[in-house]
């Protein structure tokens, strides 16, 4: 039982990271109707910015994280402006390929600047681990911070979209960008804002990911990025609560599957669950079926 609790906590922690990354995927998909495969690499950039400013320049963790968020936000908007905006009217496939191109570009730039050697990331969290039941269950400071950060981000984002003007504009654009434009919503600005928020979240995800799993390479973001994309589809792509639920579930299934079934089959189990969910509910757990009117 204690073992189970410890696995569950690990799963929720891993899932929280997936969830924060998945939020970025889902928001961009919901509003710009495109899959931003470079999202995973923005995470890596976030990690490297903190690595450089904190370990390299000796700034305090909080300042480094803030710098990282600013850099990633700017980077996200820049990518959108240079690589995606000119393709707004192009076919979806073209945008998808561009996104993959941006992803490789970011990886290779990081490779040029930082080299291929693994960097060890100093955790930004300095909370002592909590030890329960005589050390049978140990919850690390990173785990606690990750889970709390995920809940705070989730709550903040939901209320932003519900109550703020620009948040409602996002909702409008996601439902029907043409109509939104007719109603005076600045679609381009809204999409840019979405990228800014998504990339800012990616920076947070990068910091949390690297704090828990401290090996930083130019390819650090690639795999978690793909897993988070799966989480977004799992929860229903385009839906913000869906990304949250999908991320947490994915993390928990992954860890429990590894622990109780087979570590070798962890991914097979995750994807089997995904297939079953999509068969039963093609839009994902919380995805909405939008009727196309002719």
């Amino acid at each position: 039982m204690l073992e189970f609790i410890s696995y569950l906590v690990n799963g929720i922690s891993l899932g929280s990271v997936y969830a924060i990354i998945a939020l970025g995927y889902t928001m961009v998909y919901g509003i710009a109707k495109m899959l931003n495969f470079a999202h995973g690499d923005v995470i890596m950039v976030g990690g490297f910015v903190v690595f450089s400013t904190m370990s390299g320049m000796g700034l305090p963790p909080v300042i480094s994280v803030l710098i990282s968020i600013v850099v990633c936000t700017a980077l996200g908007m820049l990518i959108e402006r240079i690589a995606y905006k000119p393709l707004r009217k192009a076919s979806k496939l073209a945008v998808l390929i561009t996104a993959i191109g941006v992803s490789y570009f970011l990886q290779n730039v990081a490779l040029l600047i930082y080299g291929s050697n693994t960097k060890s990331f100093t955790s930004v969290v300095s909370i002592d681990p909590i030890s329960l039941a005589d050390g049978a269950v140990i919850i690390s400071g990173e785990t606690i911070v990750t889970i709390i950060a995920c809940i705070v981000i989730m709550a903040g984002l939901t209320s932003f979209i519900k109550y703020s003007k620009s948040g409602r504009a996002m909702l409008a654009v996601s439902e029907d960008s043409g109509a939104a434009q007719l109603m005076g919503v600045n679609v381009n600005a809204t999409i840019a804002l979405t990228f800014a928020i998504g990339s800012g979240l990616a920076a947070v995800a990068g910091v949390l990911l690297c704090s828990s799993y401290p090996a930083l390479t130019p390819y650090t973001g690639a795999m978690p990025g793909i897993k988070a994309f799966v989480a977004a589809v799992f929860g229903g792509i385009g839906s913000i609560p869906g990304a949250f639920v999908g991320g947490i579930l994915l993390g928990v299934i992954e860890i429990l599957g590894k622990a109780y079934i087979s570590a070798q089959l962890a991914d097979a189990i995750v994807f089997a669950v995904l297939v079953i969910v999509l068969l039963v509910k093609p839009t994902g757990l919380l995805g909405k079926q939008i009727q196309e009117k002719v």
């Binding site: 696995y7 490779l111 050697n117 090996a215 570590a263 070798q264």
Partner: protein
């Protein structure tokens, strides 16, 4: 008009980037002053092997390995190590008075790209190959070199099949050999009675060592307490090791055997600390380099033992000279891949001198001469002394166990 200008700009950018790639391919030709004399005849020698006599001809040695991508750290090291050796040999007068021209191609740790790189090098006129650096690409290229009967010496292709043909040799230990030797070492030195293993089931290197280790464990006085499925991870699942570490901890293992690379090892070590689990850590040669992980908390790796063919802080003169040169040029301590590559070039030199090959021979004739010469030489290098080779391509050398003490690797 605007479009035209854009097209032109893009075309320029493309040419520029291609040119940049070519430059990065890393061509170490003869020292600058000889360049003008050697280059022209060498180029002529490409198509017409015979007429280019020893006058201005060169030996064309190719290298293949990942200099970009996830395994770039190994390919870069091999390229650099080999280049240093080539420079040294050329400066000292070459092989039987003939200079070496060395070209290194990137394969991104991808078998298909590795074969492409091989073809590029063949077009360039390669006579001998050092590579590929990583196992899977090496196996793929091995098929081609066997077809073409081109001599291949891999610095670090550890999989059994890397040297399955008689034209291929290796500098490093094979995977089963490492598993066998580490099981023996643990058993003979009574390091533990209960052992847990974590390994990468998607990587033939890691899985190969694990299988040999498991087989040999039955002959030794210790027991493997975790099942294969509890300790395995794979390429898409190598960030979270909480489950594998818990399994080892709960099984009461006193020693954790880690036959995989140091990037993952740094995560496993951190996870063990998180779970307050402190067994004896034992790794293989992929662990070499863990201390070079920037910003790594070396206290995590204190007392970690691993098998390595090369220790950078050794007192050996050859090692010292190599390490100094490497540090001067690249500002980092060379790892075993660099050392293996450095030795590879010197092994080629020794065997080529033994075989008495000349630059006008074609690749196949050189290969036939080299096959016999390789089994006849005894080599003293920086990755071991008195190394000899079997006709099967396997080296005979003694394994070295290194332990990390106070943030430095010390040979045991």
């Amino acid at each position: 008009m605007k479009k035209k200008a854009l097209c032109l700009l893009l075309a320029c950018a493309m040419t520029f980037s291609l040119a940049a790639c070519g430059g990065k391919g890393g061509e170490t030709s003869a020292p600058a002053e000889d360049r003008t004399e050697t280059e022209a005849p060498a180029e002529a020698g490409d198509d017409t092997e015979a007429p280019a006599a020893s006058g201005g001809a060169v030996f064309k040695v190719g290298g293949i390995g990942p200099t970009t991508g996830g395994a770039a750290v190994y390919g870069m090291a091999v390229q650099r190590g080999a280049e240093i050796a080539v420079e040294e040999i050329n400066a000292a007068g070459g092989i039987n008075g003939v200079q070496i021209e060395f070209q290194f191609q990137d394969d991104e740790h991808d078998p298909e790209k590795s074969v492409n790189a091989y073809n590029t090098l063949k077009d360039w006129g390669m006579q001998l190959l050092v590579g590929s650096v990583t196992s899977n690409p090496c196996i793929a290229v091995g098929e081609k070199t066997h077809e073409d009967n081109l001599f291949q010496l891999t610095p670090s292709g550890t999989a059994v099949k890397c040297v399955q043909y008689d034209n291929a040799f290796r500098m490093c230990f094979s995977d089963p050999n490492q598993g066998l030797e580490s099981a023996k070492y643990i058993g003979e030195n009574k390091l533990a009675s209960k052992v847990a293993v974590i390994y990468d089931s998607s990587d033939p290197y890691s899985a190969g060592i694990y299988e040999a280790f498991r087989a040999e464990a039955e002959n030794q006085d210790f027991e493997i307490v975790t099942e294969a499925k509890d300790g395995a991870f794979d390429a898409s699942n190598k960030t979270d090791f909480s489950v594998q570490v818990s399994a080892a901890k709960n099984a009461g293992a006193e020693l954790l055997y880690m036959p995989f690379y140091y990037t993952e090892a740094s995560l496993v070590l951190k996870e063990c600390k998180k779970q307050s689990y402190a067994p004896v850590f034992f790794g293989v040669d992929g662990m070499d380099g863990i201390l070079s992980v920037e910003n790594f908390d070396t206290s995590l790796a204190e007392d970690l033992m691993y098998m390595a063919p090369f220790v950078a802080n050794s007192d050996d003169e050859q090692v010292k000279s190599f390490v100094t040169k490497y540090q001067e040029q690249f500002n980092e301590v060379p790892n075993q891949f660099a050392a293996d590559a450095y030795d590879c070039i010197y092994v080629l030199k020794a065997a080529m001198e033994e075989a008495g090959v000349t630059p006008d021979m074609d690749a196949s004739a050189i290969c036939d001469a080299m096959k016999t010469a390789m089994t006849g030489i005894t080599f003293d290098g920086i990755t071991g002394k008195g190394i000899s080779w079997e006709a099967s391509g396997e080296p005979n050398k003694a394994p070295l166990i290194v332990q990390i003490k106070g943030g430095e690797g010390v040979a045991l």
